[in-house]
Each structure stands twice: as structure tokens, then as C-alpha cells.
Amino acid sequence: METNKNKAPIAKYLVYLGLVIVSLGSLFPFYWMFVMATNPNSMINQTPPVMIPGSNMAANFQLVLDSIPFWGAMLNSLIVSSTITVGVLILCSLAGFAFAKLEFKGRTLLFVFILGTMMIPPQLGLIPTYFIITQLGWLSDLRAVIVPGLMNAFGIFWMRQYIASAVPDSIIEAARIDGCSNFRIYWNIIVPTILPAFATLGIIVFMAIWGDYLWPLVVLQDQSMHTIQVALRSLMDDRVRDYGMILSGTFWATVPLIVIFLLFNKLFIKSITDGAVK
């Protein structure tokens, strides 16, 4: 113990040093993205590279707007992510309620089945799903992303666990005696109780769908239907790359998420850990 105390100051400063270095490493790409997004390409291509923001912010972003439908892609991403999030919250909480509080034949087996589906890599059914979407006439249609996205085994699992522990059976019994149907119990008792779980699952689902790349790339082929992730990638297509323009698009597509994160960072971090750890 004594030696520990004596060693502590040096060890402590080393730990601080390590944390500062890692934090700078974490933050630097954001800063650098901003530097690039505000400098003309001529400055970017010089050695040593520029390290301070320039004055080309508007010009670079204008080039982005000329190259890809930036706002349309952001809107598509927003539509897809929010529709799926709301849909998943409703469907998963309903199913979670059923699995947690309603008795029906085969309940355990059906639940285990849902857990089992979480083990399947999404690429396994990629090609046939693409042809199903083609058959439905949903190519380059946001429904191609939204409808399969509503299927969320993890969400059902998470909601079941939450409802099982957060809602006492006695309240449900009392509501039944008052003549509440199961749907009214869900709507008037379960939903108000599980709002924190909605926040958690909502953040997890929204983030996952917002960042999704492979599936939207496959089915949203028409440029006007691109999500922001697919649109950003097409910035890289030019033979001669304008890094100022490319990082301007990337930067402004990232800013909204950073702002939301900084506003709700406690809830955000808690959601991610809860979702992972439970």
C-alpha cells in the first residue's frame, strides 16, 4: 500500500498522458475533416498538409451540392431511419409484451426461435431478398429498405426483458378486473411504463439504420433514392478526387449526428451500453 501511494503521482501522470493522447487521436479526424472541408483543393495537395481551417467552406459545399443530391439523400436517410425506428418500437414492444406477460402455447419455443434468428448473418439471404424486392417492384423505392428493416429480433428480446422486469403482474391483473383488453393494457399501462426502453432501443435502431450501407447500396440504385451513406460514397467516384469537396460532404453529413449526440450524450452512452450489456 505504501509503495503504491509513492508511485501514484508518476503513474497518474502517465495515465493522464495516455488518456490525452487517445482523446486527441479520437478527435483529430473530426478537426481534420473540418480543415479539409474549408480549404481549396490546391491548399490540400501541398506538402506539408494544411492544418488550419480555410475560407472555402461554402465553395466546397456548393461542389457537393452540384455532385450529389445531398439534401434529398439526407431526407431519404431521415425518412428511412425514423420510419423504421417508430415501426420497430411499436412492433417490438407489442411482441415483447406478449412474450413477457401473456400466456400462449409455444411461447418459449417461439421466443427461442427469435433469439436463434439473431445468429444468422444478414448476407446469407442477401441475393434472394434482392430478387424478392425486384419482384415486388420496390427497387429504388424506400420501401425496399423500410419493410425488411421492421423485422428486429434484438428489439423483441430487449423489450421482453424490459417489460418482464419493469411492469408488475399485479397492475395488469388490476387492469383486467377493470375490464381492459390486452391492447388497452398495452397502450395505457405498458407504453407509459417503458418510455425509457423506447429511448434506448430507439437510439440503437436509428443509429444502425442511419449508418447501414450494404443493403441500401444494393436496392436503392437510382441516385434520387440514395441514402446519405450511398450518396457520400459516390463522391469518391471522380477520377481526379477533390478532397475538399469529398470531406465537405462527409463533414456536413456527420455534423447533425454529432450535435444530437452532444445534446443527449448521457442518454446516448447509456443506451449503447444497456443495449449491449443486457
Binding site: 495515465v15 482523446s23 409484451f97 401473456l102 444478414p122 446469407l124 439471404g125 375490464g179 444494393v218 454529432i258
Partner: protein
């Protein structure tokens, strides 16, 4: 009798309240017990998942297994070819290269990352350290950026030009500029860096949550018994963190095996052998060349690879855990 009468009355009431739930059964004019009603709503509430899974889950999966035995370009007739598709991919050096790349990049991107995350979590969990929330925020921020954004930013950081950031840095030490997108190890370093940067904070936060869930009594009791800090770490923290470590290793492994966006963006749409991953190989085969049969065969091979790696993970996780426990008791 009276009691029974009252009971059915009540269910009658309920029935009208939940009328929308019971519509299909209305022709029969009898009332339903609570048990039956729970069953009906139970099945109804869970049915959307199973309907969606039937169309977008189980059917495509079974069809992938079917398609793997056919030659098909997506338009013309399908031709049964037996195991030929598997023969084709197993004889394709690029397939083995993609498997090798995926494993190497996965190891380079995740193994150091998990170790650093564990160290960071220790630091952020220490009572001696101040400004924890600031550090935590900074370290976690990369997770908020999408994988595509990360891949683009690092593609520019690792650009082939002399003026590229990493090349310029290396240049200060007299190192010749590296063509990152075409160099065997350059590509792997760049892609692993992307993975490291985006996920290290995420895993740190999970380890931190794990450490905070360990009851303080354990540490205090061990202190009384004269345990050193190192002993505390090896005999309390690590064993108690085991489920969290298993979780992160598990998810990192599965995530690493499915790498796609990073090489697809870093090396351009067509892809190149240095960064080719299994999923990129599959994607290119299917949507670049219209070889849907061989691509389905690749999907099935990937599925089994994931199963094998997951089982290996579980096996080792259990073994490590057991030897630790023996050490404690």
C-alpha cells in the same frame, strides 16, 4: 352458479372493449375465457415478426441454399450444376485471398483495439482520474460517425499522394510515400485503423459499464486480505468482466467477418485483391458480374465460417473463464 354467471358477464364486457381483437371469431356467440383471449392477443402481437421473417428471412435463406447449386445470371434460366459453384469458388485464388484478408484485417483491427479499450476502461474507472466524462465523451465520439464517413475520412488520410496526411508524416522521417490503396500491408493497415478508430470507444464504454457493475465490497475485502492492485485486477476485475469480454470478442469477430464498407470505399467500387473481403467478394460476384449461383455459394460458406468462429470463441471464452475461477478459489 352466481359466481360463474358473474364471470361470464365480465368476459362479455371485456369482449366488447377488445372488440377489434376478436373480430374473426364473432360468428360464434360464445364468450372467451381470459386464457383464450390472452392466447389470441399473444399470437396477434407477435405475428408481424413471423410474417416479415417468412418473407424476408427464412425464404431468402432457404433460397440461397437452393441457388448455390444452380448457375444463374438473374435473368435467364437456372441451370442445375451440383457442387460446381463451390468448386469454382474454392479454386478461385481470390476467394482464398479474401478469406485471408478478412481474417488478417479482423485480427489487426480488433485484437489491439480490445486491449486498448480494456486499458482505457481501467484508466477511466480509476478513482484517481478527474475529467472522466470529458475523456469518455472524446473517446466515444467516433462511434457516432457512420462507417462510410469513417472510411472516407481515412481514405483521404491514407491517400496515395505525397501530400496525404500519413505520407507527409512519414516523409518527415524520410520514409518514401506509400501507395496505400495498392500495397498489400498498406491497405490492411489503413482498413484496420478505420476499424480501430471507430470501435475502440464503444468497447471502452462497455468494459467501463462492466467494471462499474462490480460491487465495491469485493475490492475492499481483498484490500483487507492484503491484495495488491495487480492481484485485484487479475483475480477480481478480469474474472468479473468475463461476460463483457466475451460479448465484445464475439461481436467484434462477427463484425470483422462481415467487413464490407471499408474496403469497398477505400479501394474503389471494383475492389482490389489487397483489401478484398469475403462480403465484398460476394457482392462483386453477384451485383458486379451477375454470377448469382457462385455468390450464393459464397454466402453459404460465409455462414459456416461465422458459425465456426463463433463456436471457437465460445469454446475459448469458457476455457479462459474456468482457469480464472480455479485461480480465485
Amino acid at each position: 352458479m352466481a359466481g360463474l354467471q358473474r364471470d361470464t358477464d365480465k368476459s362479455d364486457d371485456n369482449n366488447t372493449m377488445s372488440g377489434s381483437n376478436k373480430e374473426p371469431q364473432k360468428p360464434k356467440k360464445r364468450t372467451f375465457s381470459q386464457k383464450q383471449r390472452n392466447m389470441a392477443s399473444g399470437y396477434m402481437f407477435i405475428s408481424p415478426f413471423y410474417l416479415l421473417f417468412a418473407v424476408f428471412g427464412i425464404f431468402p435463406i432457404l433460397y440461397s441454399f437452393y441457388l448455390a447449386f444452380f448457375r444463374w445470371d438473374g435473368l435467364g434460366d437456372m441451370e442445375y450444376v451440383g457442387f460446381n459453384n463451390f468448386n469454382i469458388i474454392f479454386n478461385d485464388p481470390l476467394f482464398w485471398k479474401s478469406l485471408y484478408n478478412t481474417i488478417i484485417i479482423g485480427l489487426m483491427g480488433t485484437a489491439p483495439q480490445l486491449i486498448v479499450a480494456l486499458l482505457l476502461a481501467f484508466a477511466l474507472n480509476s478513482v484517481l482520474i478527474k475529467y472522466k466524462s470529458v475523456f469518455r465523451l472524446a473517446i466515444f465520439l467516433p462511434y457516432v460517425t457512420s462507417i462510410v464517413a469513417v472510411a472516407i475520412v481515412f481514405s483521404v488520410i491514407f491517400s496515395n499522394q505525397e501530400s496525404g496526411l500519413v505520407n507527409a508524416l512519414l516523409g518527415m522521417f524520410g520514409v518514401e510515400p506509400i501507395t496505400w490503396t495498392r500495397a498489400e500491408w498498406g491497405t490492411k493497415v489503413a482498413i484496420s485503423t478505420m476499424i480501430f478508430w471507430r470501435w475502440v470507444g464503444y468497447n471502452t464504454i462497455i468494459y467501463l459499464a462492466g467494471m462499474q457493475s462490480i460491487p465495491n465490497d469485493l475490492y475492499e475485502a481483498s484490500k483487507i486480505d492484503g491484495a495488491s492492485l495487480r492481484q485485484q485486477i487479475w483475480h477480481i476485475t478480469i474474472p468479473m468482466l468475463k461476460p463483457f469480454i466475451i460479448f465484445t470478442v464475439f461481436t467484434s469477430t462477427i463484425g470483422a467477418l462481415q467487413i464490407f464498407a471499408e474496403p469497398h470505399i477505400f479501394q474503389g467500387r471494383a475492389g482490389r485483391p489487397e483489401g478484398m473481403s469475403i462480403v465484398l467478394y460476394l457482392y462483386r460476384d453477384a451485383f458486379g458480374s451477375n454470377f448469382f449461383g457462385t455468390a450464393s455459394a459464397t454466402a453459404i460458406v460465409l455462414f459456416f465460417i461465422i458459425i465456426i468462429f463463433s463456436s471457437l470463441n465460445l469454446y475459448f471464452a469458457n476455457r479462459i473463464g474456468r482457469s480464472k475461477k480455479v485461480g480465485v478459489k
